[in-house]
Symmetry: D2
Subunit: 498 residues, 4 copies
Amino acid sequence: MQHIDALWADFTRPIVTAEDYIASLRGRRMNVFFMGERVVEPVDHPVIFPSINAMAETYRLASERPELGGVKSDIADAQTNRFLHVPTGPEDLVTKHEMQRELGRRTGTCFQRCVGLDAIGSCHSVTFDIDAERGSDYYRRFIGFLKRAQTANIVIGGAMTDPKGDRSKSPHQQADPDLFLHVSKRDDKGIYVSGAKMHQTGAVNSHWLIFMPTMRMTDADKDWAVVGAVRVDAPGLTYIVGRQTNDTRIVDGGSMDAGNAQFAGQESLIVFEDVFVPYEHVFMDGEWQYAATLVERFTTYHRSSYVCKTGLGDVLIGAAAEAASHNGVESVSHIKDKLVEMTHLNETIYSSCMAAAYRARPMASGAWLNDEMLSNVAKHNVTRFPFEISRLAQDIAGGLVVTMPSEKDLQNNEVGPLIRKFLQGKSGVDTVDRMRILRLIENMTIGRNAVGYLTESLHGAGSPQAQRIQIARGMKIDDKKQRARHLAGIAETRPKNA
Amino acid sequence: MQHIDALWADFTRPIVTAEDYIASLRGRRMNVFFMGERVVEPVDHPVIFPSINAMAETYRLASERPELGGVKSDIADAQTNRFLHVPTGPEDLVTKHEMQRELGRRTGTCFQRCVGLDAIGSCHSVTFDIDAERGSDYYRRFIGFLKRAQTANIVIGGAMTDPKGDRSKSPHQQADPDLFLHVSKRDDKGIYVSGAKMHQTGAVNSHWLIFMPTMRMTDADKDWAVVGAVRVDAPGLTYIVGRQTNDTRIVDGGSMDAGNAQFAGQESLIVFEDVFVPYEHVFMDGEWQYAATLVERFTTYHRSSYVCKTGLGDVLIGAAAEAASHNGVESVSHIKDKLVEMTHLNETIYSSCMAAAYRARPMASGAWLNDEMLSNVAKHNVTRFPFEISRLAQDIAGGLVVTMPSEKDLQNNEVGPLIRKFLQGKSGVDTVDRMRILRLIENMTIGRNAVGYLTESLHGAGSPQAQRIQIARGMKIDDKKQRARHLAGIAETRPKNA
Amino acid sequence: MQHIDALWADFTRPIVTAEDYIASLRGRRMNVFFMGERVVEPVDHPVIFPSINAMAETYRLASERPELGGVKSDIADAQTNRFLHVPTGPEDLVTKHEMQRELGRRTGTCFQRCVGLDAIGSCHSVTFDIDAERGSDYYRRFIGFLKRAQTANIVIGGAMTDPKGDRSKSPHQQADPDLFLHVSKRDDKGIYVSGAKMHQTGAVNSHWLIFMPTMRMTDADKDWAVVGAVRVDAPGLTYIVGRQTNDTRIVDGGSMDAGNAQFAGQESLIVFEDVFVPYEHVFMDGEWQYAATLVERFTTYHRSSYVCKTGLGDVLIGAAAEAASHNGVESVSHIKDKLVEMTHLNETIYSSCMAAAYRARPMASGAWLNDEMLSNVAKHNVTRFPFEISRLAQDIAGGLVVTMPSEKDLQNNEVGPLIRKFLQGKSGVDTVDRMRILRLIENMTIGRNAVGYLTESLHGAGSPQAQRIQIARGMKIDDKKQRARHLAGIAETRPKNA
Amino acid sequence: MQHIDALWADFTRPIVTAEDYIASLRGRRMNVFFMGERVVEPVDHPVIFPSINAMAETYRLASERPELGGVKSDIADAQTNRFLHVPTGPEDLVTKHEMQRELGRRTGTCFQRCVGLDAIGSCHSVTFDIDAERGSDYYRRFIGFLKRAQTANIVIGGAMTDPKGDRSKSPHQQADPDLFLHVSKRDDKGIYVSGAKMHQTGAVNSHWLIFMPTMRMTDADKDWAVVGAVRVDAPGLTYIVGRQTNDTRIVDGGSMDAGNAQFAGQESLIVFEDVFVPYEHVFMDGEWQYAATLVERFTTYHRSSYVCKTGLGDVLIGAAAEAASHNGVESVSHIKDKLVEMTHLNETIYSSCMAAAYRARPMASGAWLNDEMLSNVAKHNVTRFPFEISRLAQDIAGGLVVTMPSEKDLQNNEVGPLIRKFLQGKSGVDTVDRMRILRLIENMTIGRNAVGYLTESLHGAGSPQAQRIQIARGMKIDDKKQRARHLAGIAETRPKNA
């Protein structure tokens, strides 16, 4: 295990505070690119930093509210961040979701740590099941890995979505084998993997990555049925950080035009070129039969994790109410009614996610998994309601959301006073405060964090159609038909137990 | 207590089976009217019987699945029907909701017992609270009443909605004091109440009724702030059973045109004319301050009780799938997609109700109450989604739902064979089965049970606007605004604990 | 033409008034069945009469507002009912739609005459086109037929929808050839047709029927590609009138419970058993290539004809406003807002239909046809918005819509006074008026005329998916893609003329 | 008129081509600010130029399709751009809307010229009406102005929206009189106006501006009831161009990241400081009674002008179809269904706008005005459907819309090849083309042109509530109630003429 110890040598002192975390990201030699340039030190990159700061909030929360942001882990026998915890009962999932909503409220964006968390949860039970059926050694390896991660209290990212190429073909049929991540070669120490993962949330801000297959596989796809963990700075990894709406606002003015200067999300394309993974960090290696299981458990966890968007919803509802108050119209009936509608939709999402947590069921490994139907239903609501909440927020806020002069104009001697004069709201409201709230609404509905609040709500954890397929699978249509036949008076079909 | 014992003399042998229950309704001397005629024996009235049979299903379920339909009560120290049980923890509410969905599935209609159940739950904690603050004796009385009811395993109905007259006036301001139920006189034995309750579900099928005020009151409304229990056959009570869509279908043909010949709902106008209530059965008498509390707790329970509609949804989804199958189009993509959408909406309702149960909180009396915000959100979804599910069911089923010949035509020698010839569906499908399923869809979407599935879903437990008012009250807008201000960078407003 | 003259012998005096029309329906020997019984004189059948009366309104309108309900026809060189007129320009279609909305407002139901009208319009241009390409004689025959009909000012019904049997098979592939209407034999005088037509609107109330194929055909389906006109009392025709929600309300009480005692719709199953059609009344006979053309032109006309539902919408909006006024809440903001929403949806339907009329294009015969895309869009809105308008009407009206005592109870000496006392609304409102308005809302949202307002809005003129197919065909996706490529900066793709 | 001639001295040669137009904008001395800096030459500003180019498309269209983009004006007796034309019949409005849709298709953004156009239309009839009632001279002045403008074929902008300050107060009650534009002083030559106009579309790209009051006024607001025309470079005018989402994308990479590099919208805050207006260019001066009339006519025109968004919808539908095609999934049923839904919504908007044009009515001046109810309905649909179309476009396009690497990354030697390798779609699709289409979808749904497609669709020409107020005013509720009463059988209420 010596070579394994070496891989963990940088993580001897547990990360405790947000400052520890940020410091831990410095000085790594990662291949990170953004807008055509190599980013030597992501922490110092003004566009990337807000995403690091959003991740750091998970540590702040654990410091400030340890019962919510942290948990005592039996695996490491230590307090660890809740984002490293395998849920062992419904209450764990419930608390997880409360934490996610609270982090959404605190950051107003994607704090990027849920993919890793849900990867841990699903690997726990899937490695256990593989071992149980095939006598393999994955569960021990995984627990060993997780114990080290918990002890060091690091950030684990998850990587699932392959480029997929021609969507009508399975991995082994692709013209280019790299269009799905796969074992490119192997030796007695471990495997080498090549390919890419797309849309990877917070990867640059993580310490280790767990990579997983993205879909159901066949016997011929064995080489693509691979799960493992690598350091984010492992040789052969390249990160290309995607552009986001208004990403450069943070550098082209002061803090105001950004809308939310402190926090943002991050997604990147990760390229793997013969990246080495020692066997001790390999958790699936050819067991293609379990690829679909892993994906389904992961998405079941992850679709409920979108409860975080209700935290963003809280912020946006608050911003809209504040904007209305600045205009002196908060008590006008149609404004109140829109705030109620936004809340209703937001809490509907919340209730689906929470119900999916409360109705969790245990896996053989002892990990508990959200109810699959309700988790899909929850995510499906997430693909719809934030768009309507966002539309209502813009309705309340008014057109200034998209026509407002820049902060630099506000600071200009000639036009600054004109802006202050003409953008004043209700008496007693500070014009700059008014502008800040409108910029926040822009940020969340048509700016940088709309990426997370809207588009990611559509596609993260699977696009809408993916949930519909799962809902179709789980809808027990035969039982429903039998109930109907019985009540319609069609003979001999009274359901058993009914 | 002798006079009280006399009132309970008819209920010495506990009702166990559905047959017991139906028998127990016979021979009572109630003033029941329907379509201009006195109904001497409701059990024998063909239009009323299906509603009795739906109520009877609550006993069938308790016999067949005692853990779901029944419960061991600490109050009576006996197994009792779950509809008589005060929930003592979230799990009780969860099981209650599972029972309600199952009964919805079994009957495809309103089984009418939830109002009484939710009256029991809310009286338990409110009588306790009044006593605690005012040293009154209501809780003991109520527990005594409930113990007798549980021991006899009877049906308790609840009566809340007053006629209200001029809605801009409070009870004491009405031209006619009877427009809200009130104490009309009192003596040393008890009180006399006069007025009326509207839209009362299953009243004729109950044994006792609990009456409650319908809204917030003031000091001047003292006489209207009254809660008590009466036998349904108490002197001075008159029941006028309301007409329902297609109510007479059951008598104008065979069983088929009714769509669901076995089960239906029932609502009536109950008139109280100086109805005597001994003090032992009075649970609030002038404590106007608690009227709003009682209403809010009742509606919080009752709005989640609308989870029953997901059971009806199950039946309707099954019926639509069966109709599609009869047409040979079940695997057509737009049909499958509509079934998925129906399921998604149905499960969204379910998850809101269940989340409201899991997140219950305890009252001082030891009764647990659903989460208020989520219960309102749940009911608000019920005011919308069944309408869309119903529309989709009709879309799948086709126009025959409303143009199909009658069962009598089918039995006619001349045209019966023509109907069989031309209404045949996919090969192998029995034409009569096809017609039965279409009649069931008619029944639930534009027939007798559409009353319960659609209109009652709008107005039962409070009309849509009532939920919006409660959502507005609970939406914690100040906290949300503070979160927004913080993220917008407005100084000195970071929320505490955030 | 002597035998033809004989067929028209009963129609020598033009029908002018509604009374003429009703009288003209008497004494015919049709095979009509309803609820298992032969209906000797439909005019005297209380359940059927309201549908006759709705049809009669088309004559009343023509008498009262001849410019709207009638038109000067060049074919007959006489004033005729507009329902017999072939549109010869956009203005004709515009006026037609205004007439349809007005009749919807006057009757609150389906007045059943649009199918025949739209059959006339489509036969005009299709017979012309067949003749032009094939040298046949259909157009002359059709004009001859139409001239007689206009001169007699009779009601022509249209019959299109075949039973279809196994939907995966074309007409000639069906196990039973009768599952699509077809030529069963022919002689030198004419053809004989057998089969059936389903959901036929107002057939019993018509004088003649035009039958048409229901879908695209192939060479092998020649015998099924047949169009012709028959008297409704032709030997071999049998009518089975379908049941409607609450159809018997009209006979089980006074006029009130029916909600709308004067007017209703009517749909029946028409069976054809070797019905003779002289060649002079045959307008297509084997030209299978034109079956699809005829269906498409018919549905293009007919989908816009659903503008009538905006007339029903007017009534329902008015009823909801009246109900709110009875409750004294008409000026409450959420009530007003719902009335606005209902109006918005209603006028959106109206605008789609009207736009489809204004953007009509001429056929070779000189008939003008609504814009196909917009007509499909219009009807597709009709499959959605009336359901939401209906839900909002029930929301405003309150639960009494489905729980109200019967008119017979109101007339009862014992309970009548109680109902008057407790159902009183705002001071000054007559309780019976209040009840009448609520019954009308019941009638249109969950009663007899909900059949026409809701379910028929879904399926009439083609179910929702039928419109989606046509929208897909007309959406010019290649032009749209080219526009996108051009703006995206993809080279060499600037569209011509753009 | 000499001083007037001087004001028009720069406009002696008519602008014919787009190149003429762009040249005409150079060398003007306007006070324009953007992002804190004075913009000396807006034409050369890379962020502003795309908005100029969008405006220029109105000239290109007039050159390429003179019958659509231009018109022969009777006022100037010359061919002029259609954006300078007063509609003299429904067909003019119909053609106007077709032109607007076509320009939306060509530019994918707001081409900014409709405010001026609709200002011309409304001033035509309102000045005529004022003169007719008060003997003033405004109409002659206005026609003189318009003739010069048409002859020179220039761009006229419109300016309506005042800052409004405290919304509960009328203009004269504001603490600062400048919060509504007003006459600050006057002399024998003309008036001076001060104040500001917000959200002004394309003002910097115009030659002249017509300013108008924004709402109903009272006698005390006389000084604020002012309409006039000024050159955009008149002394005292300052323009502060607002920030738009992703506005700087055009300068921070190549052309690709911008999504639509050629075209964009523009909105600015215009400050008026004692701007002189000679009486010859004053079209209302104290006639406060007509302020509301002017606003209502303007908004009636302008709400239908939002038909332009259906042109943007065409582009977005095309882009989504193209993206689906790149992924090889265009024929998948749920994708096709989403494209149909997008088209259905887009054409519903179109039909409302077109119906409002066809049903126009004439003003006394001879100008024709869209139907008010339908125009409000049209715009109200615009506040909803583009949001759903946009959501569906993102659904089809996939998450890459918001996670894609930048164009600079594509050009980078190290990562460019990786992007080409991993972002390849279906075989045969150029990866760069694929990226370009996704960037266009980003541009229209969460990028620069989403400002126009979404937020402006909400608030332009009045926010949603403004339409609801107008719909409420026009909904003829009394007639609707009477129809309902009649059908409900309430005596003596049959409507006249019905």
